[in-house]
Amino acid sequence: MVTMNCPKCGAPFEYEPGMRFKKCDYCGTMIYIDKSRVMFYYIIPFSLNSQQATEVFRRWAAGSTKAKGLDAAQIKSIKKMYFPVYRFVRRINGREEDVIKPAKTTLLPGMSNLKIPPGDMRIFDDKYDTGDAEVIQPDTSMDAYLGNLPGEAKEQEIVYFPLYEIRYVFNGQEYNVLIDGSSGEVFSSYYPTRSSAPYLLLAVIAFVLAMAGAAGGVMISGVLWFLVLAGFLVGGIGGYFIAKKF
Protein backbone atom coordinates (compact mmCIF):
# COMPACT_ATOMS: atom_id res chain seq x y z
CA MET A 1 0.00 0.00 0.00
CA VAL A 2 1.18 3.49 -0.75
CA THR A 3 0.35 6.16 1.76
CA MET A 4 -0.13 9.74 0.68
CA ASN A 5 -0.99 12.81 2.64
CA CYS A 6 -3.78 15.30 2.30
CA PRO A 7 -2.23 18.59 1.15
CA LYS A 8 -4.63 20.54 3.38
CA CYS A 9 -4.59 18.83 6.75
CA GLY A 10 -1.76 16.39 6.35
CA ALA A 11 -3.83 13.36 7.24
CA PRO A 12 -2.64 10.16 5.57
CA PHE A 13 -4.72 8.15 3.13
CA GLU A 14 -4.04 5.01 1.22
CA TYR A 15 -3.68 5.19 -2.52
CA GLU A 16 -5.30 2.51 -4.62
CA PRO A 17 -4.80 1.73 -8.29
CA GLY A 18 -7.03 3.73 -10.59
CA MET A 19 -7.62 6.46 -8.03
CA ARG A 20 -7.56 9.98 -9.43
CA PHE A 21 -9.57 11.84 -6.83
CA LYS A 22 -9.88 11.11 -3.17
CA LYS A 23 -11.92 12.81 -0.51
CA CYS A 24 -9.88 13.30 2.66
CA ASP A 25 -11.48 11.29 5.48
CA TYR A 26 -10.56 13.98 8.01
CA CYS A 27 -11.06 17.42 6.49
CA GLY A 28 -13.21 16.45 3.53
CA THR A 29 -11.02 18.15 0.97
CA MET A 30 -11.20 16.67 -2.47
CA ILE A 31 -7.67 15.69 -3.37
CA TYR A 32 -6.43 15.40 -6.92
CA ILE A 33 -3.58 12.97 -7.52
CA ASP A 34 -1.20 14.09 -10.24
CA LYS A 35 0.40 11.02 -11.75
CA SER A 36 2.12 12.67 -14.69
CA ARG A 37 5.60 12.69 -13.24
CA VAL A 38 5.74 9.48 -11.27
CA MET A 39 5.89 5.88 -12.19
CA PHE A 40 3.67 3.39 -10.48
CA TYR A 41 4.42 -0.27 -9.95
CA TYR A 42 1.32 -2.41 -10.21
CA ILE A 43 0.83 -6.12 -10.00
CA ILE A 44 -2.13 -8.35 -10.83
CA PRO A 45 -2.42 -11.26 -8.41
CA PHE A 46 -2.88 -14.86 -9.51
CA SER A 47 -6.45 -16.07 -9.30
CA LEU A 48 -5.61 -19.55 -10.57
CA ASN A 49 -3.26 -21.90 -8.73
CA SER A 50 -0.92 -24.29 -10.55
CA GLN A 51 -3.39 -27.15 -10.30
CA GLN A 52 -6.15 -25.01 -11.81
CA ALA A 53 -3.82 -23.76 -14.54
CA THR A 54 -3.07 -27.37 -15.45
CA GLU A 55 -6.78 -28.09 -15.64
CA VAL A 56 -7.30 -25.01 -17.83
CA PHE A 57 -4.58 -26.40 -20.08
CA ARG A 58 -6.34 -29.77 -20.26
CA ARG A 59 -9.62 -28.08 -21.17
CA TRP A 60 -7.90 -26.04 -23.88
CA ALA A 61 -6.10 -29.15 -25.17
CA ALA A 62 -9.41 -31.01 -25.46
CA GLY A 63 -10.70 -28.30 -27.82
CA SER A 64 -11.98 -29.27 -31.24
CA THR A 65 -8.99 -27.92 -33.16
CA LYS A 66 -6.39 -29.66 -30.98
CA ALA A 67 -5.08 -33.14 -31.72
CA LYS A 68 -7.11 -35.91 -30.14
CA GLY A 69 -5.48 -37.01 -26.90
CA LEU A 70 -3.63 -33.73 -26.44
CA ASP A 71 -5.48 -33.22 -23.16
CA ALA A 72 -3.63 -36.27 -21.84
CA ALA A 73 -0.23 -34.94 -22.95
CA GLN A 74 2.56 -35.27 -20.45
CA ILE A 75 3.31 -32.01 -18.70
CA LYS A 76 7.03 -31.44 -18.37
CA SER A 77 7.10 -28.24 -16.37
CA ILE A 78 4.95 -25.43 -15.08
CA LYS A 79 6.57 -22.08 -14.56
CA LYS A 80 4.76 -19.47 -12.56
CA MET A 81 5.81 -15.90 -13.25
CA TYR A 82 4.94 -12.25 -13.23
CA PHE A 83 5.51 -10.70 -16.61
CA PRO A 84 6.08 -6.94 -16.98
CA VAL A 85 4.63 -4.46 -19.49
CA TYR A 86 4.62 -0.69 -19.52
CA ARG A 87 1.44 1.26 -19.79
CA PHE A 88 1.55 4.93 -20.69
CA VAL A 89 -1.48 7.19 -20.59
CA ARG A 90 -0.83 10.16 -22.84
CA ARG A 91 -2.78 13.24 -23.72
CA ILE A 92 -2.45 13.67 -27.46
CA ASN A 93 -4.27 16.64 -29.04
CA GLY A 94 -6.77 16.68 -26.22
CA ARG A 95 -7.41 12.94 -26.45
CA GLU A 96 -6.43 10.40 -23.93
CA GLU A 97 -4.53 7.49 -25.44
CA ASP A 98 -3.26 4.32 -23.86
CA VAL A 99 0.04 3.04 -25.11
CA ILE A 100 1.32 -0.37 -24.09
CA LYS A 101 4.96 -1.19 -24.64
CA PRO A 102 7.04 -4.27 -23.94
CA ALA A 103 9.21 -4.18 -20.87
CA LYS A 104 10.87 -7.47 -21.69
CA THR A 105 11.83 -8.91 -25.03
CA THR A 106 10.41 -12.37 -25.29
CA LEU A 107 9.75 -15.22 -27.63
CA LEU A 108 6.89 -16.55 -25.55
CA PRO A 109 3.83 -17.27 -27.69
CA GLY A 110 1.12 -14.63 -27.70
CA MET A 111 3.21 -12.07 -25.82
CA SER A 112 4.05 -10.08 -28.91
CA ASN A 113 0.57 -8.62 -29.16
CA LEU A 114 0.82 -6.84 -25.89
CA LYS A 115 -2.00 -6.48 -23.50
CA ILE A 116 -2.77 -6.24 -19.86
CA PRO A 117 -5.07 -9.09 -18.87
CA PRO A 118 -8.11 -8.21 -16.79
CA GLY A 119 -7.50 -8.27 -13.09
CA ASP A 120 -7.63 -6.58 -9.76
CA MET A 121 -4.47 -4.46 -9.81
CA ARG A 122 -2.51 -3.90 -6.63
CA ILE A 123 0.37 -1.70 -5.71
CA PHE A 124 3.60 -3.63 -6.13
CA ASP A 125 6.07 -2.77 -3.40
CA ASP A 126 8.35 -4.70 -1.08
CA LYS A 127 5.40 -5.64 1.09
CA TYR A 128 3.72 -7.51 -1.74
CA ASP A 129 4.32 -11.23 -1.47
CA THR A 130 5.04 -12.76 -4.86
CA GLY A 131 5.23 -16.24 -3.32
CA ASP A 132 6.79 -18.93 -5.47
CA ALA A 133 6.34 -17.00 -8.70
CA GLU A 134 9.35 -15.63 -10.49
CA VAL A 135 9.22 -11.89 -11.10
CA ILE A 136 10.58 -11.34 -14.59
CA GLN A 137 12.73 -8.22 -14.61
CA PRO A 138 12.28 -5.70 -17.41
CA ASP A 139 15.18 -5.44 -19.83
CA THR A 140 14.00 -2.27 -21.48
CA SER A 141 13.91 0.86 -19.39
CA MET A 142 10.93 3.15 -19.34
CA ASP A 143 13.13 6.06 -20.38
CA ALA A 144 13.74 4.35 -23.70
CA TYR A 145 10.09 4.97 -24.50
CA LEU A 146 9.30 8.14 -22.61
CA GLY A 147 11.29 10.45 -24.86
CA ASN A 148 9.68 9.15 -28.05
CA LEU A 149 6.04 9.02 -27.06
CA PRO A 150 3.67 11.60 -28.54
CA GLY A 151 1.70 14.06 -26.44
CA GLU A 152 2.11 14.83 -22.79
CA ALA A 153 2.33 12.38 -19.96
CA LYS A 154 -0.67 11.71 -17.77
CA GLU A 155 0.25 8.46 -16.17
CA GLN A 156 2.89 5.80 -16.55
CA GLU A 157 3.16 2.51 -14.89
CA ILE A 158 4.71 -0.86 -15.07
CA VAL A 159 2.24 -3.69 -14.70
CA TYR A 160 3.32 -7.17 -13.73
CA PHE A 161 0.72 -9.71 -14.74
CA PRO A 162 0.45 -13.34 -13.70
CA LEU A 163 1.39 -16.00 -16.18
CA TYR A 164 1.92 -19.74 -16.32
CA GLU A 165 4.16 -21.29 -18.90
CA ILE A 166 3.36 -24.95 -19.37
CA ARG A 167 5.75 -27.16 -21.33
CA TYR A 168 4.25 -30.41 -22.54
CA VAL A 169 5.28 -33.35 -24.65
CA PHE A 170 3.07 -34.86 -27.33
CA ASN A 171 4.22 -37.65 -29.68
CA GLY A 172 7.80 -37.10 -28.64
CA GLN A 173 7.79 -33.40 -29.39
CA GLU A 174 7.87 -30.57 -26.90
CA TYR A 175 5.51 -27.61 -27.02
CA ASN A 176 4.72 -24.69 -24.78
CA VAL A 177 1.61 -22.75 -23.94
CA LEU A 178 0.91 -19.71 -21.79
CA ILE A 179 -2.00 -19.25 -19.44
CA ASP A 180 -3.02 -15.90 -18.09
CA GLY A 181 -3.13 -16.51 -14.34
CA SER A 182 -5.91 -14.00 -13.84
CA SER A 183 -8.65 -14.79 -16.36
CA GLY A 184 -7.44 -18.16 -17.62
CA GLU A 185 -6.97 -17.11 -21.24
CA VAL A 186 -4.68 -19.45 -23.15
CA PHE A 187 -2.01 -18.24 -25.57
CA SER A 188 -0.32 -20.55 -27.96
CA SER A 189 1.29 -20.13 -31.34
CA TYR A 190 2.01 -23.71 -32.27
CA TYR A 191 0.28 -26.89 -31.22
CA PRO A 192 -0.61 -30.31 -32.68
CA THR A 193 -3.83 -29.94 -34.62
CA ARG A 194 -6.72 -32.24 -35.31
CA SER A 195 -7.60 -33.22 -38.84
CA SER A 196 -11.07 -32.41 -40.14
CA ALA A 197 -10.89 -35.17 -42.74
CA PRO A 198 -12.72 -37.99 -40.88
CA TYR A 199 -15.44 -35.54 -39.82
CA LEU A 200 -15.91 -34.21 -43.31
CA LEU A 201 -15.82 -37.64 -44.92
CA LEU A 202 -18.52 -39.02 -42.64
CA ALA A 203 -20.70 -35.93 -43.04
CA VAL A 204 -20.47 -36.10 -46.82
CA ILE A 205 -21.30 -39.84 -46.89
CA ALA A 206 -24.41 -39.32 -44.76
CA PHE A 207 -25.40 -36.30 -46.83
CA VAL A 208 -24.96 -38.05 -50.18
CA LEU A 209 -26.95 -41.08 -48.98
CA ALA A 210 -29.85 -38.87 -47.92
CA MET A 211 -29.66 -36.83 -51.09
CA ALA A 212 -29.58 -39.88 -53.34
CA GLY A 213 -32.42 -41.39 -51.31
CA ALA A 214 -34.66 -38.36 -51.72
CA ALA A 215 -33.88 -37.70 -55.38
CA GLY A 216 -34.08 -41.36 -56.29
CA GLY A 217 -37.15 -41.92 -54.14
CA VAL A 218 -39.09 -39.30 -56.09
CA MET A 219 -37.70 -39.90 -59.55
CA ILE A 220 -36.90 -43.61 -59.72
CA SER A 221 -38.41 -45.81 -57.06
CA GLY A 222 -39.93 -45.36 -53.61
CA VAL A 223 -37.66 -48.08 -52.26
CA LEU A 224 -34.70 -45.73 -52.53
CA TRP A 225 -36.11 -43.67 -49.67
CA PHE A 226 -34.46 -46.25 -47.43
CA LEU A 227 -31.16 -44.67 -48.31
CA VAL A 228 -32.24 -41.68 -46.26
CA LEU A 229 -32.64 -43.88 -43.22
CA ALA A 230 -29.25 -45.45 -43.96
CA GLY A 231 -27.73 -41.96 -44.13
CA PHE A 232 -29.23 -41.10 -40.76
CA LEU A 233 -27.88 -44.24 -39.13
CA VAL A 234 -24.44 -43.90 -40.68
CA GLY A 235 -24.32 -40.23 -39.63
CA GLY A 236 -25.50 -40.91 -36.10
CA ILE A 237 -23.45 -43.96 -35.23
CA GLY A 238 -20.38 -42.98 -37.25
CA GLY A 239 -20.57 -39.41 -35.98
CA TYR A 240 -20.63 -40.56 -32.37
CA PHE A 241 -17.52 -42.69 -32.85
CA ILE A 242 -15.62 -40.10 -34.83
CA ALA A 243 -16.36 -37.42 -32.25
CA LYS A 244 -15.09 -39.76 -29.54
CA LYS A 245 -12.03 -41.21 -31.25
CA PHE A 246 -10.73 -38.77 -33.86
Binding site: P17, Y42, Q52, R59, R87, P118, L200, V234, A243
Partner: protein, 322 residues
Amino acid sequence: MKLTFGLSCPSCGGRIDVEEGDHLAICPFCHTVSKIEGEDDVKTLAYALVVDEKKALEAAHKWFKHGFKARDLKEVGKIKEIYHVYLPFWRYTAKGLGVVCGYNYRTDSRGNTEKVYKEKEIMKDYDWSHIACDAGDIGIMHLRNYRGEVVPLPEDAPTFEVTTSKDDAVDMGVQEISKRIVKEAQIQNITFSKTFVVPRHFVLLYYPVWIIRYEYKDKMYFLTVDGVTGQVLSGRAPGDSVWQGLAIATGSTVGGVLVGLALPAMQYVDARAGLFLLIIGGIIFLGAYSFFRHGSEIVEGDIEKPYKGVDIPYLKGVLKWA
Protein backbone atom coordinates in the same frame (compact mmCIF):
# COMPACT_ATOMS: atom_id res chain seq x y z
CA MET B 1 7.45 17.23 -6.20
CA LYS B 2 3.83 17.37 -5.27
CA LEU B 3 1.60 14.45 -5.99
CA THR B 4 -1.60 15.52 -4.33
CA PHE B 5 -3.55 18.72 -4.75
CA GLY B 6 -6.46 19.83 -2.63
CA LEU B 7 -9.35 21.36 -4.48
CA SER B 8 -10.40 24.53 -2.78
CA CYS B 9 -12.09 27.73 -3.83
CA PRO B 10 -9.56 29.94 -5.63
CA SER B 11 -11.35 33.02 -4.33
CA CYS B 12 -11.73 32.39 -0.59
CA GLY B 13 -9.82 29.16 -0.05
CA GLY B 14 -12.83 27.36 1.37
CA ARG B 15 -13.45 23.71 0.79
CA ILE B 16 -15.47 22.80 -2.29
CA ASP B 17 -17.03 19.41 -2.74
CA VAL B 18 -16.33 18.28 -6.24
CA GLU B 19 -17.51 15.02 -7.64
CA GLU B 20 -15.75 13.17 -10.39
CA GLY B 21 -17.05 14.34 -13.74
CA ASP B 22 -18.22 17.78 -12.51
CA HIS B 23 -17.50 20.72 -14.75
CA LEU B 24 -18.62 23.56 -12.48
CA ALA B 25 -18.37 24.00 -8.74
CA ILE B 26 -20.03 26.57 -6.52
CA CYS B 27 -18.20 27.55 -3.37
CA PRO B 28 -20.58 27.11 -0.42
CA PHE B 29 -18.85 29.95 1.43
CA CYS B 30 -18.40 32.79 -1.04
CA HIS B 31 -20.64 31.47 -3.81
CA THR B 32 -17.96 31.86 -6.41
CA VAL B 33 -18.55 29.65 -9.41
CA SER B 34 -15.42 27.84 -10.51
CA LYS B 35 -14.85 25.98 -13.69
CA ILE B 36 -13.01 22.71 -13.37
CA GLU B 37 -10.72 21.88 -16.21
CA GLY B 38 -7.68 19.86 -17.02
CA GLU B 39 -8.93 16.55 -15.81
CA ASP B 40 -12.06 15.65 -17.73
CA ASP B 41 -12.77 12.68 -15.63
CA VAL B 42 -15.65 10.37 -16.25
CA LYS B 43 -18.37 9.80 -13.75
CA THR B 44 -18.06 6.41 -12.11
CA LEU B 45 -21.15 4.44 -11.17
CA ALA B 46 -21.87 0.92 -10.15
CA TYR B 47 -24.91 -1.32 -10.17
CA ALA B 48 -25.78 -2.96 -6.91
CA LEU B 49 -25.10 -6.66 -6.62
CA VAL B 50 -28.52 -8.21 -6.04
CA VAL B 51 -27.87 -11.83 -6.95
CA ASP B 52 -26.38 -13.65 -3.98
CA GLU B 53 -24.03 -16.61 -4.10
CA LYS B 54 -26.83 -19.12 -3.66
CA LYS B 55 -28.79 -17.75 -6.60
CA ALA B 56 -25.68 -17.62 -8.76
CA LEU B 57 -25.00 -21.27 -8.01
CA GLU B 58 -28.59 -22.15 -8.82
CA ALA B 59 -28.21 -20.42 -12.17
CA ALA B 60 -25.03 -22.40 -12.80
CA HIS B 61 -26.67 -25.73 -12.02
CA LYS B 62 -29.60 -24.85 -14.26
CA TRP B 63 -27.17 -23.92 -17.02
CA PHE B 64 -25.42 -27.29 -16.68
CA LYS B 65 -28.64 -29.02 -17.66
CA HIS B 66 -29.49 -26.90 -20.68
CA GLY B 67 -28.15 -26.94 -24.19
CA PHE B 68 -25.97 -29.52 -25.85
CA LYS B 69 -23.55 -29.88 -22.98
CA ALA B 70 -22.15 -33.14 -21.65
CA ARG B 71 -25.13 -35.17 -20.43
CA ASP B 72 -23.45 -36.04 -17.14
CA LEU B 73 -22.29 -32.47 -16.47
CA LYS B 74 -24.92 -31.90 -13.79
CA GLU B 75 -23.67 -34.91 -11.84
CA VAL B 76 -19.96 -34.85 -12.61
CA GLY B 77 -19.33 -31.11 -12.81
CA LYS B 78 -17.97 -29.80 -9.51
CA ILE B 79 -17.97 -26.14 -8.66
CA LYS B 80 -14.52 -25.25 -7.41
CA GLU B 81 -14.67 -21.54 -6.97
CA ILE B 82 -17.19 -18.76 -6.96
CA TYR B 83 -16.50 -15.08 -6.51
CA HIS B 84 -17.94 -11.84 -7.70
CA VAL B 85 -16.14 -8.97 -9.30
CA TYR B 86 -17.18 -5.57 -10.59
CA LEU B 87 -16.21 -5.36 -14.25
CA PRO B 88 -15.68 -1.88 -15.69
CA PHE B 89 -17.66 -0.90 -18.78
CA TRP B 90 -17.66 2.29 -20.78
CA ARG B 91 -21.28 3.12 -21.25
CA TYR B 92 -22.33 5.62 -23.84
CA THR B 93 -25.89 6.87 -24.12
CA ALA B 94 -26.74 9.05 -27.08
CA LYS B 95 -29.51 10.30 -29.28
CA GLY B 96 -29.01 9.08 -32.78
CA LEU B 97 -30.27 11.11 -35.71
CA GLY B 98 -29.91 10.09 -39.28
CA VAL B 99 -31.09 10.35 -42.85
CA VAL B 100 -30.66 7.29 -45.02
CA CYS B 101 -31.50 7.16 -48.73
CA GLY B 102 -31.38 4.23 -51.08
CA TYR B 103 -33.52 1.63 -52.74
CA ASN B 104 -34.84 -1.89 -52.21
CA TYR B 105 -35.89 -4.39 -54.83
CA ARG B 106 -39.44 -5.66 -54.67
CA THR B 107 -41.01 -8.45 -56.61
CA ASP B 108 -44.75 -8.39 -57.21
CA SER B 109 -47.04 -11.40 -57.57
CA ARG B 110 -46.42 -11.62 -61.34
CA GLY B 111 -42.69 -11.90 -60.82
CA ASN B 112 -41.78 -8.42 -61.97
CA THR B 113 -38.99 -6.86 -59.99
CA GLU B 114 -38.98 -3.15 -59.41
CA LYS B 115 -36.71 -0.73 -57.67
CA VAL B 116 -38.34 1.06 -54.77
CA TYR B 117 -36.65 4.25 -53.70
CA LYS B 118 -36.69 5.02 -50.02
CA GLU B 119 -35.74 7.82 -47.73
CA LYS B 120 -35.84 7.38 -43.99
CA GLU B 121 -35.31 9.69 -41.11
CA ILE B 122 -34.31 8.17 -37.83
CA MET B 123 -34.38 9.56 -34.35
CA LYS B 124 -33.82 7.17 -31.51
CA ASP B 125 -32.01 6.78 -28.23
CA TYR B 126 -29.14 4.37 -28.21
CA ASP B 127 -27.21 2.62 -25.50
CA TRP B 128 -23.80 1.22 -26.12
CA SER B 129 -21.24 -0.32 -23.81
CA HIS B 130 -17.87 -1.94 -24.06
CA ILE B 131 -15.71 -3.53 -21.43
CA ALA B 132 -13.05 -1.08 -20.19
CA CYS B 133 -10.31 -3.63 -19.69
CA ASP B 134 -9.04 -6.51 -21.72
CA ALA B 135 -11.80 -9.10 -21.89
CA GLY B 136 -9.38 -11.98 -21.38
CA ASP B 137 -11.28 -15.22 -21.15
CA ILE B 138 -14.25 -13.72 -19.35
CA GLY B 139 -16.37 -13.63 -22.46
CA ILE B 140 -18.28 -10.42 -21.78
CA MET B 141 -17.61 -7.55 -24.18
CA HIS B 142 -20.89 -5.67 -24.05
CA LEU B 143 -23.59 -5.30 -21.47
CA ARG B 144 -26.99 -6.74 -22.20
CA ASN B 145 -28.79 -5.16 -19.33
CA TYR B 146 -28.99 -1.47 -18.52
CA ARG B 147 -31.31 -1.61 -15.57
CA GLY B 148 -30.02 -1.78 -12.09
CA GLU B 149 -29.90 0.07 -8.84
CA VAL B 150 -27.24 2.73 -9.25
CA VAL B 151 -24.94 2.90 -6.26
CA PRO B 152 -21.49 4.32 -5.62
CA LEU B 153 -18.87 1.65 -6.11
CA PRO B 154 -18.58 -0.19 -2.79
CA GLU B 155 -15.33 0.73 -1.06
CA ASP B 156 -13.85 -2.76 -0.77
CA ALA B 157 -15.44 -4.14 -3.90
CA PRO B 158 -13.22 -6.40 -5.96
CA THR B 159 -12.87 -4.63 -9.30
CA PHE B 160 -10.93 -5.12 -12.47
CA GLU B 161 -8.90 -2.06 -13.35
CA VAL B 162 -9.63 0.13 -16.34
CA THR B 163 -6.89 -0.27 -18.92
CA THR B 164 -8.40 1.26 -22.06
CA SER B 165 -8.77 4.86 -23.11
CA LYS B 166 -12.08 6.61 -22.64
CA ASP B 167 -11.63 8.64 -25.82
CA ASP B 168 -11.20 5.45 -27.82
CA ALA B 169 -14.36 4.17 -26.17
CA VAL B 170 -16.29 7.30 -27.17
CA ASP B 171 -15.10 6.92 -30.78
CA MET B 172 -16.11 3.28 -30.82
CA GLY B 173 -19.49 4.20 -29.35
CA VAL B 174 -20.16 6.87 -31.97
CA GLN B 175 -19.18 4.51 -34.77
CA GLU B 176 -21.28 1.67 -33.44
CA ILE B 177 -24.34 3.88 -32.95
CA SER B 178 -23.93 5.37 -36.45
CA LYS B 179 -23.95 1.86 -37.85
CA ARG B 180 -27.06 1.00 -35.89
CA ILE B 181 -28.83 4.13 -37.18
CA VAL B 182 -28.13 3.16 -40.79
CA LYS B 183 -29.24 -0.41 -40.10
CA GLU B 184 -32.46 0.86 -38.53
CA ALA B 185 -33.50 2.28 -41.92
CA GLN B 186 -33.68 -1.26 -43.37
CA ILE B 187 -32.56 -0.18 -46.80
CA GLN B 188 -30.58 -2.73 -48.78
CA ASN B 189 -28.78 -0.50 -51.21
CA ILE B 190 -27.73 2.73 -49.59
CA THR B 191 -26.90 5.66 -51.81
CA PHE B 192 -26.58 8.33 -49.16
CA SER B 193 -26.52 8.43 -45.39
CA LYS B 194 -25.74 11.04 -42.82
CA THR B 195 -25.81 10.36 -39.13
CA PHE B 196 -25.45 12.47 -36.03
CA VAL B 197 -24.75 11.09 -32.62
CA VAL B 198 -25.67 13.49 -29.87
CA PRO B 199 -24.06 12.36 -26.62
CA ARG B 200 -26.18 12.25 -23.50
CA HIS B 201 -24.14 10.43 -20.92
CA PHE B 202 -20.80 8.82 -20.80
CA VAL B 203 -20.04 6.92 -17.63
CA LEU B 204 -17.75 4.27 -16.33
CA LEU B 205 -20.13 1.64 -15.07
CA TYR B 206 -18.96 -1.08 -12.75
CA TYR B 207 -21.15 -4.10 -13.31
CA PRO B 208 -21.23 -6.96 -10.81
CA VAL B 209 -20.59 -10.39 -12.25
CA TRP B 210 -20.19 -13.77 -10.59
CA ILE B 211 -17.32 -15.83 -11.88
CA ILE B 212 -17.74 -19.54 -11.31
CA ARG B 213 -15.00 -22.05 -12.06
CA TYR B 214 -15.90 -25.69 -12.21
CA GLU B 215 -14.17 -28.93 -12.89
CA TYR B 216 -15.28 -31.68 -15.21
CA LYS B 217 -13.09 -34.77 -15.63
CA ASP B 218 -9.89 -32.99 -14.56
CA LYS B 219 -10.56 -30.05 -16.82
CA MET B 220 -11.31 -26.52 -15.70
CA TYR B 221 -14.27 -24.70 -17.20
CA PHE B 222 -16.04 -21.54 -16.17
CA LEU B 223 -19.19 -19.51 -16.48
CA THR B 224 -20.20 -16.01 -15.54
CA VAL B 225 -23.51 -14.99 -14.01
CA ASP B 226 -24.95 -11.48 -14.22
CA GLY B 227 -24.98 -10.05 -10.69
CA VAL B 228 -28.07 -7.97 -11.42
CA THR B 229 -30.33 -10.22 -13.49
CA GLY B 230 -29.00 -13.63 -12.45
CA GLN B 231 -28.61 -14.78 -16.04
CA VAL B 232 -25.64 -16.68 -17.39
CA LEU B 233 -23.61 -14.29 -19.56
CA SER B 234 -20.83 -16.46 -20.87
CA GLY B 235 -19.17 -19.76 -20.27
CA ARG B 236 -17.37 -22.80 -21.46
CA ALA B 237 -18.72 -26.30 -21.03
CA PRO B 238 -17.80 -29.77 -22.21
CA GLY B 239 -19.79 -31.08 -25.15
CA ASP B 240 -21.03 -34.59 -25.78
CA SER B 241 -20.27 -37.02 -28.60
CA VAL B 242 -23.89 -38.17 -28.57
CA TRP B 243 -25.13 -34.68 -29.46
CA GLN B 244 -22.42 -34.39 -32.07
CA GLY B 245 -23.48 -37.67 -33.70
CA LEU B 246 -27.14 -36.73 -33.49
CA ALA B 247 -26.43 -33.35 -35.02
CA ILE B 248 -24.63 -34.70 -38.04
CA ALA B 249 -27.21 -37.49 -38.50
CA THR B 250 -30.12 -35.04 -38.44
CA GLY B 251 -28.36 -32.26 -40.32
CA SER B 252 -27.02 -34.35 -43.15
CA THR B 253 -30.27 -36.28 -43.52
CA VAL B 254 -32.50 -33.21 -43.57
CA GLY B 255 -30.01 -31.24 -45.66
CA GLY B 256 -29.46 -34.16 -48.02
CA VAL B 257 -33.20 -34.77 -48.49
CA LEU B 258 -33.82 -31.09 -49.28
CA VAL B 259 -30.97 -30.98 -51.76
CA GLY B 260 -32.11 -34.32 -53.20
CA LEU B 261 -35.60 -32.91 -53.70
CA ALA B 262 -34.18 -29.83 -55.39
CA LEU B 263 -33.51 -31.70 -58.63
CA PRO B 264 -37.07 -33.06 -59.11
CA ALA B 265 -38.41 -29.70 -57.92
CA MET B 266 -36.45 -27.89 -60.60
CA GLN B 267 -37.69 -30.29 -63.20
CA TYR B 268 -41.35 -30.58 -62.23
CA VAL B 269 -42.20 -27.42 -60.28
CA ASP B 270 -39.98 -24.44 -61.04
CA ALA B 271 -36.34 -23.47 -60.92
CA ARG B 272 -36.80 -20.95 -58.16
CA ALA B 273 -38.30 -23.49 -55.74
CA GLY B 274 -35.46 -25.90 -56.52
CA LEU B 275 -32.83 -23.29 -55.86
CA PHE B 276 -34.52 -22.41 -52.61
CA LEU B 277 -34.42 -26.05 -51.44
CA LEU B 278 -30.79 -26.31 -52.51
CA ILE B 279 -29.73 -23.31 -50.43
CA ILE B 280 -31.78 -24.21 -47.36
CA GLY B 281 -30.49 -27.78 -47.48
CA GLY B 282 -26.92 -26.58 -47.84
CA ILE B 283 -27.22 -24.22 -44.88
CA ILE B 284 -28.69 -26.91 -42.63
CA PHE B 285 -25.92 -29.31 -43.60
CA LEU B 286 -23.14 -26.77 -43.01
CA GLY B 287 -24.60 -25.71 -39.66
CA ALA B 288 -24.82 -29.33 -38.51
CA TYR B 289 -21.31 -30.04 -39.73
CA SER B 290 -19.93 -27.09 -37.81
CA PHE B 291 -21.54 -28.36 -34.61
CA PHE B 292 -20.39 -31.92 -35.30
CA ARG B 293 -16.81 -30.78 -35.87
CA HIS B 294 -16.57 -28.33 -32.97
CA GLY B 295 -19.26 -29.46 -30.54
CA SER B 296 -16.78 -31.08 -28.15
CA GLU B 297 -16.74 -27.80 -26.28
CA ILE B 298 -19.73 -25.56 -25.92
CA VAL B 299 -18.83 -21.89 -25.84
CA GLU B 300 -21.27 -19.15 -24.92
CA GLY B 301 -20.80 -15.40 -24.81
CA ASP B 302 -18.24 -13.16 -26.49
CA ILE B 303 -15.48 -15.75 -26.59
CA GLU B 304 -13.55 -16.43 -29.74
CA LYS B 305 -14.99 -19.58 -31.23
CA PRO B 306 -13.03 -22.18 -33.15
CA TYR B 307 -15.39 -21.77 -36.11
CA LYS B 308 -16.91 -18.76 -37.73
CA GLY B 309 -20.47 -18.06 -36.75
CA VAL B 310 -23.20 -18.14 -39.38
CA ASP B 311 -23.48 -14.76 -41.07
CA ILE B 312 -27.24 -14.26 -40.69
CA PRO B 313 -27.60 -10.98 -42.67
CA TYR B 314 -25.59 -12.50 -45.53
CA LEU B 315 -27.78 -15.61 -45.54
CA LYS B 316 -30.90 -13.47 -45.56
CA GLY B 317 -29.52 -11.70 -48.61
CA VAL B 318 -28.88 -15.01 -50.37
CA LEU B 319 -32.38 -16.26 -49.55
CA LYS B 320 -34.00 -13.06 -50.80
CA TRP B 321 -32.04 -13.34 -53.99
CA ALA B 322 -33.22 -16.92 -54.41
